[in-house]
C-alpha cells in the first residue's frame, strides 16, 4: 500500500497492567480504503491497542500518529471527535435513558437551539443515524430497555457512525450479534472502505476475518508477529502464527481413546432455561469423561453450564445428580453433591478481587479445613499452600491481593478453589480464556490429570482446537439445542464441526 494512504501509525507502543505486559513495542500501520483484520488469541493485546487508539486508556510508552500528527486522546469523546469510532464487546450503552440520548451521549450540546437542547431534534437526528445503518425498525424515542441485547449493540454502532468516523474499530462485536446484525456491520465496513476510510476488525474467528478483510495482522502475547495481504491468507499458517508453535507439539492430550464408563453421573432432561437460550435440551454425562461443549458465542452453552450447576433457573425439565438421585436446586446444593463451577466471567463471578489468595481459595473449602466449629490458621495456610504448589501460582505471599496477579495466575486461583475441595464433577466455562500460552498448557495437563483421577469434567469453550484436543465426547449447540455430537478421534477436523455450528 502506498504511504500517502497511511492514516494511523504506532511506533514502539507499550502497555502493561502491573506485572502483565499487554503490548510490547508494537509498530502498526493502518491504511485508508482497507479493512485490516487484527487476530490473536485472548490476551494477545489486540483489544488493548485499539482501546488506546480510541482514547479509552493511555499507553505506557511509545508514540501514535493519526493522519501524520501526534495522537494522544484522553477520552473516547476526544477520540471520536478526531475521527476514531469504536464499538466494544462489553455493554457500551447506558441503561435507563432513551436510545436517542445513548446515540449522542456526551454530545447533547450539539442540539442546543438558543439555550434549549431540543429533544425532538435529537430524536430526529438519532432516527437518521439508525436509518442510515439500516435499523429503521428501531424507534429512537424508546427507552433502551425496550429493545433486545442484539439491537442495543446496533444502537452503539449507530452512535459511532453518527460522528462519521474516518477509522472504525469493531472489537469482537460480531459474535454477539444475530445474523441480521452481522450483515449490517459487514455492509458498513465495506461502505467505509469504498469511501476510502479505514476499518480495523478484531475477531478470533479466523474464517470471518478471511472472508471480510483485505489485510490481516497477527498478534501474540503483545507482539506483532506478521502482516499478510489477502492473497497470502492461509488458515494453518495464520493459526501457527497465532499459537506460536506447531499444532502437533505436546499441548493437548496425547491419547485418543475416547472410551469412558457408561455410568451416568448427570442427567439433563428436557431443560428449557429461564433466559430462553436453552430449549428442550437433554444430555447425559458419564463418570470420568471430559465432555466438550462448543458452538458460537450465543448458542446457549454458557447457560447450560449455569443450569447444570443450579445457577440459572429452569423453566421446564430437570437436572438430576444420578448417584444421589437428587434434582439440583441451587449452587449450594450442587457443591454439596461434589460439583464445582469455573465461571467464564472470572473477575466478576469466580473471584473476589479485593480479597487475598488465601481468602479466595479457602472460601470454597471451609468445610474441609475446619476442626469442629473452628478453623486453625496454620491448617488453612497448609491447605492454601498445597494448592499454590500443585498449580505453581506465582505470588509474593498467599496474603497478596488477587487483583495484583496476572490473568493466568488468577485462573489458577479459581482452579485452586475447586481442586482444594476435591470435587468429582467440574464444570469449566472457557477455562483458558484470556490466559497466556504457557498457562494454557499447564491447564490442559491439569485437566488431563483430573480425568485420570476419575473426575468428570464438562468443558465449555469457544476455541474449537481446545475442544478437539481435550474432549472424549463433543456436543455442538446451535440456537439452544443440540446440533451435533462427535466422538474423540485423530481424524476429527475443525471444518466438520464448523459445518453444524453455523
Amino acid at each position: 500500500m502506498n504511504e500517502d494512504k497511511l492514516i494511523i501509525e504506532t511506533r514502539q507502543l507499550c502497555k502493561n497492567f502491573g506485572p502483565t505486559i499487554a503490548l510490547n513495542h508494537v509498530d502498526l500501520k493502518i491504511y485508508r480504503g482497507q479493512i485490516t483484520g487484527l487476530i490473536g488469541e485472548n490476551g494477545s493485546g489486540k483489544s488493548t491497542i485499539t482501546s488506546i487508539l480510541a482514547g479509552m486508556q493511555p499507553a505506557s510508552s511509545g508514540e501514535m500518529f493519526f493522519k501524520g500528527k501526534p495522537h494522544k486522546p484522553s477520552t473516547m469523546i476526544e477520540g471520536a471527535a478526531l475521527g476514531i469510532g469504536m464499538i466494544v464487546q462489553e455493554q457500551g450503552y447506558v441503561s435507563g435513558i432513551s436510545i436517542a440520548q445513548n446515540i449522542f451521549l456526551g454530545e447533547e450540546g450539539r442540539f442546543r437551539r438558543h439555550g434549549i437542547i431540543s429533544r425532538s431534534a435529537m430524536v430526529k437526528a438519532a432516527q437518521e443515524a439508525l436509518n442510515n445503518i439500516g435499523c429503521n425498525d428501531i424507534d429512537a424515542s424508546w427507552y433502551i430497555e425496550q429493545i433486545d441485547l442484539q439491537d442495543r449493540k446496533l444502537v452503539e454502532l449507530a452512535r459511532v457512525m453518527a460522528s462519521n468516523p474516518e477509522v472504525l474499530v469493531v472489537d469482537e462485536t460480531t459474535t454477539a450479534l444475530s445474523q441480521r446484525g452481522r450483515s449490517i456491520i459487514y455492509d458498513i465496513m465495506r461502505r467505509m472502505r469504498d469511501e476510502d476510510k479505514a476499518v480495523i476488525f478484531i475477531s478470533h474467528d479466523l474464517d470471518e476475518l478471511m472472508e471480510v478483510c483485505d489485510r490481516m495482522v497477527v498478534l501474540r502475547d503483545g507482539n506483532l508477529i506478521t502482516d499478510l495481504d489477502k492473497p497470502e491468507f492461509e488458515p494453518n499458517l495464520i493459526k501457527r502464527h497465532m499459537v506460536g508453535r506447531d499444532m502437533g507439539e505436546k499441548y493437548y492430550r496425547e491419547d485418543y481413546d475416547g472410551t469412558v464408563s457408561d455410568e451416568v453421573v448427570l442427567d439433563v432432561d428436557n431443560v428449557t432455561s429461564g433466559s430462553g437460550l436453552l430449549i428442550n435440551f437433554s444430555m447425559q454425562v458419564h463418570k470420568g469423561e471430559i465432555l466438550g461443549i462448543g458452538g458460537l458465542s450465543h448458542c446457549g452453552m454458557h447457560e447450560l453450564g449455569k443450569v447444570v450447576f443450579g445457577e440459572e433457573k429452569i423453566l421446564t425439565g430437570s437436572v438430576t445428580h444420578v448417584p444421589s438421585g437428587q434434582k439440583i436446586r441451587d449452587a449450594r446444593h450442587a457443591i454439596k453433591l461434589g460439583m464445582g463451577y469455573v465461571s467464564k466471567d472470572r473477575d466478576h463471578e469466580a473471584l473476589v478481587l479485593s480479597a487475598s489468595i488465601r481468602d479466595n481459595i479457602s472460601s470454597a473449602g471451609l468445610d474441609k479445613i475446619n476442626d469442629g466449629p473452628f478453623i486453625l490458621p496454620n491448617k488453612e495456610k497448609a491447605y492454601v499452600n498445597q494448592q499454590v504448589q500443585t498449580l505453581s501460582i506465582k505470588c509474593a505471599s498467599i496474603n497478596q491481593n488477587v487483583q495484583y496477579l496476572s490473568g493466568g495466575n488468577k485462573q489458577k486461583v479459581v482452579f485452586g478453589k475447586w481442586i482444594g475441595r476435591d470435587c468429582d464433577i467440574l464444570i469449566l466455562d472457557c477455562p483458558t480464556r484470556g490466559v497466556d500460552v504457557g498457562v494454557k498448557a499447564a491447564m490442559y495437563a491439569l485437566i488431563d490429570d483430573m480425568k485420570r483421577q476419575g473426575k468428570t469434567i464438562i468443558m465449555i469453550s469457544e476455541e474449537l482446537a481446545e475442544l478437539i484436543g481435550m474432549a472424549d465426547r463433543l456436543l455442538i449447540l446451535k440456537d439452544g439445542s443440540l446440533a451435533g455430537e462427535f466422538q474423540r478421534s485423530r481424524q476429527l477436523t475443525e471444518h466438520e464441526i464448523i459445518e453444524c455450528m453455523i
Binding site: A350, S363, L366, F374
Partner: protein, 318 residues
C-alpha cells in the same frame, strides 16, 4: 512496594488513635491520662465499642445498619421495665437480650429477603424505633431502677469499670474468635466482597446475614445492660446518636462502609476509643462550644481521609 503498603495500611487506624491520644495528652497537660479519666473514657467508650464490634459483622457482609440508636433505646427501655417488674439483674439482662435479638432478627430477615436500599430504610427505622419508645413510655418518661420491686444492687464507680472491662474484653474476644478462627469471618468477608462469587462458592448469604445481625444484637443487649447498671435509669432520648457514632467509629477504625475483605474486628474497638478520646479530650479543653464542634469535624474528616486512603476508585464513590 505492594507488600509494604499493605501492612502499613492495616495499621493506619491505630496510628490515628495514637495521634489523637498524644495530641490530647499534650493539650490537656496529661489530664486525659489520669486514673479517673481513663476510667471515664472506658465508661463512655463501652456502649459505642460494644455496638460497633457487633456491627462489624453486619457492615462486613455488605449490609448497613443506621438504626442502632433506636434499637439500643428500645432494648434499654424494655430491659428497664423488666428490671423494675422483677427486681433481678438476671431477668433484666434476659429482657435486654430478647428485645435486641428480636429487633436484630427482624432487620436480618429484612436485609436477607427484601431487596431495598438498606441505608435509607435503617435511617428511617432508627427514627421510627425512637418514636415507638415514646409511644410505649407514654407520659412517664424515665424509668428508674430505684423503684424496682426488689432493690437492684448498685455499683460504685470502680466496680462499674470492672464490669465494663469484663463485658468489653469478653465480647471482643468472642468476636475475635468468631471472626478469625471460625468460618463465619471468612464468609462475611467474601459475601461483602462479591455477593455473586459468594453464591457460586456455595455460601448461604441468608444465614450469614442473619448471624451477623444476631451478633450485633448481642452487642446492643450488652451495651444496654451495662448502661442500665451504670446509670440505673433510662430516658426516652437514650442512645439517640448511636447510629452515627457507630458509623464514625467503624470508619475511624479503618473499615470501609461497604464491608468486604478489608473488614477488621479491631476497627470496632479502635474506632470507638478514638471517637471517645476525641470527644472527651475536646470538652476537657474547655474551648468555646462552636470551636469544639468545628475541631471535632476537622479531626474526624482528617482521620477518616487517612484511614480510607487505601481504597480509591477513579469513579466518585456513592
Amino acid at each position: 512496594m505492594k507488600k509494604s503498603w499493605e501492612t502499613i495500611r492495616n495499621y493506619f487506624p491505630i496510628f490515628g488513635f495514637v495521634i489523637v491520644v498524644v495530641f490530647f495528652s499534650i493539650a490537656t497537660k496529661g489530664a486525659i491520662l489520669s486514673g479517673t479519666s481513663l476510667q471515664s473514657l472506658l465508661n463512655q467508650a463501652i456502649a459505642t465499642a460494644l455496638v460497633s464490634i457487633g456491627s462489624v459483622f453486619v457492615f462486613g457482609c455488605g449490609c448497613f445498619d443506621m438504626s442502632m440508636g433506636g434499637t439500643l433505646c428500645m432494648t434499654a427501655v424494655l430491659g428497664g421495665y423488666a428490671g423494675i417488674a422483677s427486681g433481678s439483674i438476671f431477668v433484666m439482662a434476659l429482657a435486654c437480650l430478647a428485645t435486641a435479638l428480636v429487633l436484630s432478627l427482624l432487620k436480618g430477615l429484612f436485609a436477607a429477603y427484601v431487596e431495598v436500599p438498606l441505608f435509607i430504610v435503617t435511617i428511617v427505622l432508627g427514627f421510627v424505633l425512637s418514636a415507638l419508645v415514646l409511644v410505649i413510655m407514654g407520659t412517664e418518661t424515665t424509668i428508674l431502677l430505684n423503684d424496682a420491686v426488689k432493690p437492684i444492687p448498685s455499683f460504685n464507680f470502680t466496680q462499674m469499670s470492672a464490669i465494663n472491662i469484663v463485658a468489653l474484653a469478653g465480647f471482643f474476644i468472642v468476636c475475635v474468635i468468631l471472626f478469625n478462627f471460625t468460618a463465619l469471618g471468612r464468609k462475611v468477608k467474601i459475601l461483602g466482597g462479591n455477593p455473586v462469587t459468594a453464591r457460586q462458592t456455595g455460601l448461604n448469604s441468608v444465614n450469614i446475614k442473619l448471624i451477623s445481625f444476631i451478633i450485633s444484637g448481642v452487642g446492643v443487649a450488652l451495651a444496654a445492660l451495662v448502661a442500665l447498671l451504670r446509670i440505673r435509669s433510662v430516658g426516652s432520648t437514650y442512645g439517640a446518636d448511636m447510629g452515627t457514632d457507630v458509623m464514625i467509629a467503624l470508619v475511624l477504625g479503618g473499615m470501609p462502609l461497604t464491608g468486604g475483605p478489608r473488614t477488621r474486628i479491631s476497627a470496632g474497638i479502635i474506632g470507638a476509643l478514638t471517637i471517645t478520646v476525641l470527644n472527651s479530650g475536646l470538652s476537657m479543653l474547655g474551648l468555646d462550644l462552636a470551636i469544639i464542634q468545628i475541631f471535632r469535624a476537622v479531626i474526624y474528616l482528617a482521620v477518616v481521609y487517612v484511614a480510607s486512603m487505601t481504597y480509591r476508585t477513579n469513579l466518585l464513590p456513592r
